[in-house]
Assembly symmetry: C2
Homo-oligomer: 311 residues x 2
């Protein structure tokens, strides 16, 4: 991270998927609802900073979803509409909501998407490379001039099928976001802390391991931090939780302009808060009716959950 | 919990197994080494308070293990030596150290163990009913006059084979300790928080769910608390981690004499500290060379791991 303390924040650019998701969980089902990593991350970030989205949608993408992005003040100059169909994902969850089962993925317009960033996007200080083909992540990163802070997400598919490109992305990131399985797959070790340490050696100064309902851990040169999962009695749909977490994390950092250990810790709690809301309903429904007051309340609820006195 | 604030603590009685364990993990192997829930819990508690142990050993139990208990100042008046062989457990762990695989359990002298408590044991203010036949837990509890604080542990075997007795134990406990699978099996719900809430309805005012490397959560009328797992790069043998956690938890409460929310939170961190040391080596080897200074240092390391500023 190149930023010192006390500097101003700025807009946050996200590249990733905008999708129509069909999801079934033990608690309900939706067909072709708004989804995609960039959607969750940008809407989540929009509660903290101005969000810019680089993605592609097809001719069939409903205008009401575009309006929902707009209602969150998201800059849509980088959202391209292309001939063809919107990216689609179909999947389900059993009672173990930590495990998504994919039934179908249709990249559609994403297969040929080669974004050219609008001029002002090239000066985005904060960049989040959400889960998408690492070649696309690199192409976007190449177009941004000296970003202040870059975070990336990935998934097992790219770790297996585009390993070299994933390593190239990691080498250019400040913050790497992975889940437990991805961490182990990336470096081939069983111990999570050892994995995080090895991922740090690949480039990122900060490695965040997302552990679903168990929260998230962060390893950096400054030390180790654990954000607990927020306890929810009713989780309706975990889709997008990780992307929402990343959006809250980066959105908070973009707002505060700091990148020291204390800021990243606060950012992780913001990410946890946003993810905990996202899973309370299907699609982005809960995020889109969220208020700043609810965010602040839950932030402090999480702080209270780990409060303990000295020995 | 019947105790008010500011009262004195006192000795802690543990009933449970003393065993000879044969354990294989990816990091080594031991044959017939000291093990058993009461051993781990009592040695762990002995760093905080005076510990009393109710258990049975066979004629073959090595004197050097008795000496190790004595070296921790544990009161052994309740440790009966009976004709026959000591309880034995044989098991192994794969790289997923959260999952113990049992190869053999031989109850031996525990099959006919019907303890009669020494007179001073009947006035133990703190009682930990470690994992053992719930009939045995009840028989010990019946002999203790008005204990100040009772905690119990159990396992899936008893939940399946002695369900009614397990419920009787729970109804008489202040603190219930369960792992994730036991919590779900006990009340048959997938959501962990919902499980903890239902277990509270069975009697205990405090329910603690142990989540292995992910730490532990506590639910009480006062609220919700999360103790993170201590990050270890090298775990040699997770056997006894849960018992060691319980011993540290109850040992701390026995020392401080308080039972309010703040005390239970501190006790959970003490349990986490003790468990994190226990798994660093096989059998009780690490616990038996532990110092008070190491305990205090790790306690504060864990506090630092969750420290985060207000929003």
């Amino acid at each position: 991270m190149s930023a010192g303390s006390g500097q101003m924040g700025g807009p946050m650019l996200t590249v990733g998927s905008v999708a129509l998701d069909s999801v079934r969980t033990p608690f309900g089902e939706v067909e072709e609802e708004l989804g995609g990593a960039a959607s969750y991350a940008s809407v989540s970030a929009s509660f903290f900073t101005s969000a810019r989205m680089v993605a592609v949608i097809g001719e069939d993408f409903p205008g009401r979803h575009v309006s929902r992005f707009a209602s969150r003040g998201i800059d849509l100059a980088g959202l391209e509409r292309a001939p063809g169909k919107t990216f689609r994902w179909r999947g389900y969850y059993e009672y173990d909501l930590n495990q998504a089962h994919t039934l179908e993925t249709a990249l559609n317009v994403f297969e040929t998407f080669r974004p050219t960033l609008p001029e002002d996007y090239r000066h985005s200080p904060y960049v989040f490379l959400a889960n998408i083909d690492p070649a696309l992540q690199l192409s976007v990163l190449d177009q941004v001039r000296r970003p202040k802070l870059v975070a990336c997400d990935t998934m097992n598919y790219w770790i297996e099928h585009a390993h070299e490109a994933v390593l190239k992305v990691l080498a250019r990131c400040d913050i790497a976001l992975v889940n437990e399985a991805e961490a182990r797959e990336l470096v081939g070790r069983p111990n999570l802390l050892a994995c995080a340490r090895e991922i740090m050696n690949l480039g990122p100064g900060v490695v965040i391991v997302k552990k679903g309902e168990h929260g998230a851990m962060m390893l950096s040169q400054g030390g180790y931090f654990v954000a607990p999962g927020y306890p929810l009695e009713e989780v309706k749909d975990p889709t997008g939780a990780g992307d929402t977490f990343a959006g809250g994390l980066m959105g908070y950092l973009a707002r505060c302009g700091e990148t020291d250990d204390a800021a990243v810790r606060k950012a992780m709690v913001c990410g946890t808060v946003m993810a905990s809301f996202a899973v309370e309903d299907f699609s982005l429904d809960r995020l889109l009716r969220l208020t700043q007051e609810e965010i602040a309340d839950r932030y402090h609820e999480i702080l209270a959950m780990t409060r303990v006195e000295a020995f």
